[in-house]
């Protein structure tokens, strides 16, 4: 247990801080709110990261990475969050697909894909889930039929985030060598292949956060296979482990969110003009959320320290998602609760977006709170989605009970 930083860590932090304070102001702020508009904003930043040697911090150097450990990476994340860096758009590429290719891919695959993830050239998406295969991933039906020099793939995928932006996808298909997880192969798919159709799928706020992807006799060469034919389940387990680490250390920076909430409460009054920070119920809620964020931070640090030490993902990683999802949900719901009925207004309600709790008739300047309502609303919604995606809460609890506690499967 050590809060002190090694000299190399302290130096790295200083350098990062300096670089961020120099680089961030050069971006074309403000960051657009809609996902598709963010791409041209984000890409130059990712390129700058790559050129400065801050992309792929934990990736091997031969593929453009820096070969640093998770602690360094975590320092970079902390400083980025603190300085207000842009949202990371290519989490699938950086957090799951890239590490999977680095670990299981051929030399040619590594050469071809990894660097372009870091430079920001290629965004990736993940074609795993299907309409009939959600929690039960191994029941997937998308078929790959062997043809000369490669495979022809037909099927339907769903819940694919960023499919509309992605250059490539990691893809699971049934190659027929056996039942369930024994007959699955792991492919890399260029999203511009002939026969790939992306259809946006709106979530309940009416935004297309994810997509359906239809694969109609899509050709992939033999070189698109990762690992063994029919041996894709092992590679998939690798990807899911990378995903669990990413989730456990937090896709949402809960420290930043609670700081925003605290600032919000301090600056507001209730309908009768009393400071919100004096309301006993608000006080308890803020304190309780702050405490849960503290626990989440401790869990994340434990996961990072474990990963830096090269340990296999342990208890802390497995509980990360179960701890994290309800926390983010409650942070967002609380953020919305600070104004009357605030959680009930649509993303398009302009008055709520301005966040004064006031009337449409009042005159507003779009201030720093302009994104408040929309931010919390999206986050509240997204947290509920995250609890379902990548193995629902029910499945996560099964995994903890069966794999870690050794409780009987049947």
């Amino acid at each position: 247990m050590d809060f002190s930083e090694r000299p190399d860590e302290a130096q790295f932090r200083t350098e990062v801080r300096a670089w961020l304070s120099e680089t961030l102001p050069t971006l074309q702020w403000p960051e657009p709110p809609e996902l598709e508009d963010k791409v041209p904003f984000w890409r130059p930043y990712q390129t700058a990261l790559f050129e400065a040697g801050y992309a792929g911090l934990t990736w091997p150097q031969e593929y453009g990475g820096q070969g640093l450990d998770e602690r360094m990476s975590s320092i970079f994340s902390e400083e980025s969050a603190h300085a207000g860096a842009p949202e990371r758009l290519n989490t699938i590429g950086e957090d799951f697909a890239g590490p999977t290719i680095a670990h299981f891919g051929t030399a040619e695959q590594k050469e071809k894909y990894l660097r372009r993830i870091l430079t920001g050239e290629d965004i990736w998406c993940q074609l795993f889930s299907e309409p009939e295969s959600g929690s039960d991933l191994a029941s997937l039906r998308t078929k790959a039929v062997k043809v000369d020099g490669g495979w022809r793939i037909t099927g339907q995928k769903i819940w694919t985030s960023r499919a509309q932006l992605a250059a490539h996808a990691i893809l699971l298909a049934r190659t027929g060598g056996g039942e369930r997880h024994r007959g699955i192969t792991y492919f890399l798919l260029p999203m511009d292949s002939e026969g790939v159709t992306v259809r946006p799928l709106e979530h309940m706020l009416g935004e297309a956060e994810f997509n359906e992807v239809f694969l109609d006799n899509v050709f992939l060469p033999d070189s698109a296979v990762v690992g063994e034919v029919d041996g894709g389940w092992k590679v998939t387990m690798g990807t899911l482990a990378f995903e669990r680490v990413a989730i456990a250390t937090g896709r949402v920076n809960t420290v930043k969110e609670i700081r925003n909430l605290v600032d919000d409460v301090r600056s507001r009054t209730d309908a009768d003009g009393n400071p919100l920070g004096a309301d006993p119920h608000v006080r308890r809620s803020v304190a309780d959320l702050w405490g849960r964020v503290h626990l989440h931070q401790a869990i994340s640090q434990r996961v990072i320290s474990g990963a830096s030490g090269g340990e296999p993902p342990g208890e802390a990683t497995s509980i990360g998602k179960l701890f994290f999802c309800p926390l983010v949900e409650d942070l967002a719901d609380f953020g919305l609760s600070l104004e009357p009925l605030n959680d009930q207004f649509d993303l398009e309600d302009e008055v709520a977006a301005v966040g004064t709790g006031g009337l449409a008739a009042a005159e507003h300047e779009a201030g720093p709170q302009d994104q408040g309502h929309r931010h919390w609303l999206r986050l509240a919604n997204q947290a509920r989605g995250t609890a379902i995606a990548g193995g629902s809460t029910y499945i996560q609890r099964n995994i903890v009970a069966e794999r870690i506690l050794g409780m009987p499967k049947k």
């Binding site: 979530h203 309940m204 309301d279 608000v282 609760s337 104004e339 009357p340 009925l341 009930q344 379902i388």
Partner: protein, 369 residues
């Protein structure tokens, strides 16, 4: 006490349910919601049903709060647009002794209380009266966008008054708001020297009566929405397979369904018990109404999240109907006062100590959390 619907009530509920099943379906709902205009539904509904809960001598069809609660439950059960009906049903008692206006209300003209829908109605902030008419702004008025007249709480020289204001005046400005739940509508309303007529009623007791009604009817709405979410979730669990079995055979899914079922049947028990208590003016009727609102709408949002989890990702999409009821149940939690606000009122009444002077009233409960 007998907890049992009369034969008339059973017949009424059945007739209403039949009518609604013909008048509303998912496609029609989405049409109204996409266009932002549910007036077609509101008008046909009013034609047949707006007189329920209004005495026959006033041109209504008779029936009391139990019948109104049945109406609210069944409207919610199919997610029918109901802001105009609810607002009118709440406001009409203020129009006692004004038969022409009551008749218009029965005929489907929306009347709305000019009060923020995030508060208990009796905690409404009154406008200031004056020689030049009424002036002031009220945010988040239920059905404020379609109301033809408003019942307006006004701070008069001798205490609280209720006025009626014609919404068609130039001095009345209405700005519709956009809710996630599209089955109800809110608007911000500003009066700038609006002409008004004072209503000859006891403003405080009318607002208290409106509050009790609002509590029961919003709770009944949650009952209807929750019942449908339970039905949807159970149906889904019976047809969706994972790991080679129906997901409804997993104990976690069963227990999730059971928890919604407990909430639904507790709500059903309490909504009608409370409606009868309010209608027969039982000594604790105001507390019963407050408790029903606080408990049932809070539990309704939990049921909504449970139903969402039971559905997995599909329930989280725009195209699946679950979201309609999910949003409806969520709006009900804060509509006309949060559970916290109603609980604060209960505490005011229960914990009044011997030293306190006044009888507590349904006032001052505006906290949002």
């Amino acid at each position: 006490m007998e907890w049992k619907f009369s034969e008339e009530q059973e017949a009424y509920a059945e007739a209403l349910q039949d009518w609604l099943s013909g008048a509303v379906d998912s496609e029609k709902l989405r049409g109204w919601f996409d266009s932002g205009d549910a007036s077609a539904f509101a008008e046909t509904f009013a034609r047949d049903w707006a007189g329920v809960g209004i005495p026959e001598e006033d041109g209504g069809q008779g029936g009391g709060l139990v019948e109104l609660a049945l109406t609210a439950e069944h409207l919610a059960r199919v997610d029918a647009p109901s802001a105009a009906w609810l607002a009118t049903t709440l406001a009409v008692p203020a129009l006692a002794g004004r038969p022409a206006e009551v008749e218009e209300a029965v005929g489907g003209q929306t009347v709305a209380l000019l009060a923020s829908a995030d508060r208990i109605p009796s905690a409404a902030v009154p406008l200031q009266g004056g020689a030049n008419g009424l002036t002031g702004s009220v945010a988040r008025v239920l059905a404020g966008d379609t109301a033809v007249r408003f019942v307006v709480p006004v701070a008069g020289a001798h205490g609280l008054e209720l006025h009626v204001v014609d919404a068609g005046q130039e001095s009345v400005r209405v700005t519709p708001r956009r809710l996630l739940d599209r089955s109800r509508t809110l608007a911000d309303v500003t009066l700038d020297g609006a002409a008004s007529q004072r209503l000859d009623v006891d403003a405080v007791s009318v607002l208290e009566a409106i509050s009790r009604r609002a509590a029961v009817l919003v709770a009944a709405d949650t009952l209807g929405a929750s019942q449908t979410m339970l039905d949807l979730a159970v149906d889904y669990a019976k047809q969706r397979q994972q790991f080679g079995v129906f997901i409804g055979s997993f104990q976690a899914v069963k227990h999730a369904a059971a928890s919604i079922m407990v909430a639904v049947e507790a709500a059903r028990s309490a909504v009608y018990y409370t409606a009868a208590s309010v209608d027969s003016d039982q000594p604790e009727a105001a507390l019963h109404a407050a408790a029903a609102k606080a408990q049932i709408t809070a539990e309704g949002t939990r049921s909504a999240d449970t139903a969402l989890t039971m559905h997995g990702a599909i329930g989280y999409t725009w195209e699946h109907d679950l979201q309609l009821y999910y949003k409806r149940a969520k709006l009900n939690e804060g509509l006309f006062g949060s559970p916290g606000a109603w609980n604060d009122h209960i505490a005011d009444v229960l914990l009044l100590t011997a030293g306190d002077q006044a009888t507590p009233r349904l006032l001052g409960a505006g906290a949002s959390v």
